[in-house]
Symmetry: C2
């Protein structure tokens, strides 16, 4: 599976665990809602700075973010 | 610490563990040596696609790549 798809699935999963909407996550991470949507659907090659912003907004470390079967 | 610096330190550490030069890593990951150098010194906001290329070249999964005190 393309790593962009894996990242998108992981963000969506963690976002839903936190009962956040894409709008909530976008606001917390200081990113656009349309950007969050495109990352979640696997169409963006997201940078590490934006992955970190999203991880902080989802209240997980980068280690926890990547501790998932998708990244084994 | 800036996440770009953390990523750079992690790549350099794993590269040295594998006894690879920047040139070796660049060749294996199909990236430029100058790009590897700038990532290692923390001056690049690397994308997930390039992180994955480097992790594969270093023979670690993304989970292992981010399992490090820098990312806790």
């Amino acid at each position: 599976m393309d790593v962009r798809v894996k990242i998108g699935q992981r963000i969506k999963h963690l976002r839903e665990l936190s009962s956040m909407s894409q709008k909530d996550l976008a606001y917390s991470a200081d990113l656009d809602r349309s950007y969050i949507a495109s990352v979640e659907n696997g169409s963006r090659n997201i940078s590490i700075v934006n992955i970190e912003k999203i991880a902080i907004a989802l209240n997980v470390t980068l280690k926890v973010f990547f501790t998932d079967g998708n990244f084994n």
